[in-house]
């Protein structure tokens, strides 16, 4: 725009052409004046922050790249120790990354958990696309989850059997999160409906469940799963530790998801309920065809946020000694040769968690904008 104006001005009709804004108001300079240096205080803040960022960035690059050691020959970490914290010892990652990702899974079979991780990611991507939101998606989930089970356990199709105690790392995190949500979600819907029910006994049960679970930390449920659960079962019956933790996570997640779903049920106008009643639909018809499709659509963004929370919370199984991604990282640096390189390991694991959570968070924001498009004009 401004180019055209300037060109006409140069063509020799100065009084007719509108003058362009002064250069200080335009382009990069104008933007900086408005957003970075609009007042003395703003200028001071900008300069201080810029100084801090540059200093921090330079320090980080020096630590992480310039002074870093990327590999050391057979566990000789003396070179790393000589840095005395002035440089990162990425050698610990080079040495231990397979262990951090897949735990104690047999080394030559690592392609199986790797494939499982890819399958999980593929499943998330497909589920995230709106064009696949239909009933067939449930079948895809069932199919993919069974393939994942086959890959992890093996024992058939020529795959060697790998007992559950040897599973570990990223697949465990993804299994806990995915199975947890797959089972918690239907339970959450039932509990949310129960909490809105007009039947007093069902309502009381659901309220008690939700408030009890939400009032205690996840750790106490995980402790319960690890030390108390064996007492609950008849003698001789034993449930694997991973499954017990999974049950605790499902029960925990369901209480929180139920509150999110309840929010959607409450946000739906009363007319929808009354119209469905007026049509003579039964309770389950009303709920399945009229209420849930609308209510769930309303709460998709908060649901995704809750999912992010649970993805992060699966790391708590570290406390009861289940081998997820974080536990694998913590175990990797127990070996005396690698002790003291926790910062490098946690930064790497943090990056993995961040990729997953950031993708979900951006997706949730995009979805929220898309679903709210009819409200914006």
């Amino acid at each position: 725009m401004s180019d055209i104006t300037l060109n006409t001005a140069a063509a020799g009709v100065p009084e007719a052409a509108p003058r362009s804004a002064p250069l200080t108001q335009l382009g990069l300079v104008g933007w900086m004046r408005a957003n970075l240096f609009s007042s003395w205080l703003n200028t001071a803040v900008t300069l201080l922050l810029a100084y801090l960022i540059i200093r921090w960035a330079v320090g980080f690059i020096e630590w992480g790249i310039v002074n870093a050691i990327w590999s050391v020959p057979n566990n000789q970490t003396q070179a790393c120790r000589d840095l005395k914290g002035t440089g990162a010892c990425w050698a610990v990652i080079t040495e231990k990354h397979r262990f951090m990702l897949f735990g104690t899974y047999p080394y030559e079979e690592h392609w199986r958990p790797a494939l499982v991780c890819l399958l999980f990611i593929g499943l998330y991507v497909v589920s995230a696309m709106r064009r696949f939101w239909r009933w067939e998606l449930a079948i895809i989930w069932a199919a993919v989850l069974s393939v994942i089970g086959v890959l992890m356990w093996g024992g058939i199709l020529g795959l060697s059997y790998v007992p559950q105690e040897r599973w570990g790392g990223l697949p465990i995190t993804l299994i806990l999160a995915t199975f947890g949500l797959a089972f918690a979600f239907p339970l959450a819907i039932l509990v949310a409906l129960g909490r809105r029910s007009s039947l007093p006994a069902i309502k009381v049960l659901c309220v008690m469940y939700v408030e009890l679970i939400r009032g205690v930390p996840l750790i106490s449920l995980l402790f319960m799963a690890s030390v108390m659960f064996p007492l609950f079962l008849p003698e001789g019956m034993n449930i694997d530790k991973l499954l017990r933790a999974q049950i605790a996570i499902i029960l925990f997640a369901a209480a929180y998801l139920a509150e999110v779903v309840r929010g959607g049920l409450q946000a739906l106008p009363k007319g929808q309920y009354e119209a469905a009643d007026a049509l003579g639909l039964s309770y389950w018809q009303k709920t399945g065809f009229i209420i849930l499709p609308q209510a769930l659509r309303l709460v998709i963004p908060p649901l995704v946020n809750t999912f992010i929370g649970f993805f992060k919370d699966t790391s708590l199984v570290l406390i009861i000694g289940i081998f997820d991604l974080l536990t694998a990282g913590k175990t990797a640096i127990i070996e005396p040769a690698w002790q003291g390189f926790g910062v490098e390991v946690y930064v790497t694991i943090g990056a993995i968690y961040f990729v997953f959570c950031f993708a979900m968070s951006k997706y949730s924001q995009g979805l929220e904008a898309e679903l709210n498009r009819h409200r914006r004009r």
């Binding site: 009032g215 030390v227 108390m228 992060k312």
Partner: protein, 400 residues
């Protein structure tokens, strides 16, 4: 009832039908469903309960809280009340509870302050500042809290030992043994001054209330700050002065292999507090931002048009409205912080969960140990939500 009411809608209410024993009767269906669900849940609970009783008998575990009176024999590094390993389990758990409260209360205060600052920074007109605040919120919320705690603990563990401790300001030492700060030798005069401060705070609050009531009567604003200054600052200092003004600074100093004197913040507590505050502040920042954005722009403009000063606009118009949006989600963040403090067990800070866990490992009283943890957190959760609900009701919009 129908004779006393004049509401025509009630007069036209449908007549009560007698219950028919048929599936088409809604009430019968309701009763059957309830019996079914309660029966199933009750059955499961009874099954689990009978298994548990049987298992306890087989394993010869005595139930009950009798173990609380036995000698604990577990060392606790940090305690707010006197404690030594020969004390009872009850006292050990009490120490743990106080440790939990210590980190939760300090954490809530600091996280609220930091979160509010970051939330306001996100709304700043300064692009760089708002961008940095945005990146902070995004990054901190996308990393598991446990990972952050382990990270901070690893950072603190990686600090140099006491001999090469970082010494940014005179009297402050940061080493892998924790943070050392100077303190004063506590004497009774200090306690009295503290008491005077608390009394002054109560009196200030009462005076402010009276001043507000008087302003409602005659419209004249009264100055509160001179009274507040006198009661909150001059009075405690005067009490301290009258009692002899004792002031002996207690500076930490390196003796042998560790520091003597001063006040010590252990690396475990420091890492836990740092992790909890930084993490929760990320969430609080979003709540504060949403709360401020929820106040319509016209409110700012109308207040300015009335000629109110900027501080008055903020204090009397914007904040009361923003708080209504902020308080409910803030409550759940406070609850989250308290519950998340149970992650202390992963980095070795001895909070209630850690001590109850050790107790149940030592005594084998799994059910009682977990019951204690749950009871404590349920009580704390309930107290915080009751208090916040009361506060929320107080500031809620009074509608017609």
């Amino acid at each position: 009832m129908s004779q006393t009411t004049n509401d025509p809608r009630l007069l036209r209410a449908p007549p009560k039908r007698p219950i028919r024993l048929s599936w088409s009767d809604e009430r019968v269906r309701g009763i059957v469903w309830q019996l079914l669900v309660v029966g199933i849940v009750g059955g499961i609970v009874w099954w689990l309960w009978s298994n548990t009783v049987h298992n306890l008998e087989v394993r010869r575990i005595a139930t009950g809280f009798g173990f609380l009176g036995r000698e604990a024999g577990l060392p606790i590094a940090e305690h707010l009340i006197d404690y030594n390993p020969t004390d009872t389990y009850f006292r050990a758990l009490l120490v743990g509870l106080l440790n939990t409260l210590k980190v939760a209360v300090v954490g809530i205060v600091l996280a609220t302050i930091l979160g509010t600052l970051i939330g306001i920074a996100r709304l700043s007109k300064n692009w760089l500042l708002s961008r940095i605040a945005g990146v902070y919120v995004e990054v901190i919320r996308d990393l598991p809290l446990l990972l952050q705690l382990l990270f901070w603990y690893a950072v603190l563990q990686g600090l140099p030992g006491p001999r090469q401790a970082l010494n940014p300001v005179d009297g402050v030492f940061l080493s892998n043994r924790g943070l050392k700060l100077p303190w004063i030798e506590w004497e009774s005069a200090h306690s009295w001054a503290l008491l005077a401060f608390v009394a002054g705070a109560v009196a200030t609050w009462l005076y402010r209330r009276a001043a507000r009531a008087a302003q409602m009567q005659d419209g004249q604003p009264r100055r509160v700050w001179p009274v507040a200054l006198g009661l909150l600052l001059v009075l405690p200092v005067a009490v301290w002065w009258v009692l002899g003004a004792p002031w002996t600074p207690d500076m930490p100093a390196l003796r042998g292999f560790n520091f003597q004197g001063g006040v010590n913040i252990s690396p475990e507590y420091f890492a836990l507090l740092l992790g909890l505050v930084l993490y929760t502040a990320g969430f609080i920042a979003e709540i504060v931002r949403a709360g401020i954005l929820a106040v319509a722009h016209g409110q700012w403009e109308a207040a300015q048009a009335l000629g109110l000063k900027p501080t008055q606009v903020l204090n009397q118009i914007v904040l009361p409205q923003a708080l209504r949006v902020i308080i409910p989600p803030m409550t759940s963040q406070f609850l989250n912080l308290t519950k998340n403090s149970s992650l202390a067990v992963a980095i070795g800070y001895q909070d209630i969960v850690s001590i109850a866990n050790t107790t149940l490992n030592q005594t084998g009283q799994a059910i009682e140990g977990i019951a204690i943890i749950m009871l404590v957190y349920l009580t704390i959760s309930l107290s915080i939500s009751l208090f916040m609900n009361w506060y929320n009701a107080r500031i809620a919009l009074v509608e017609r």
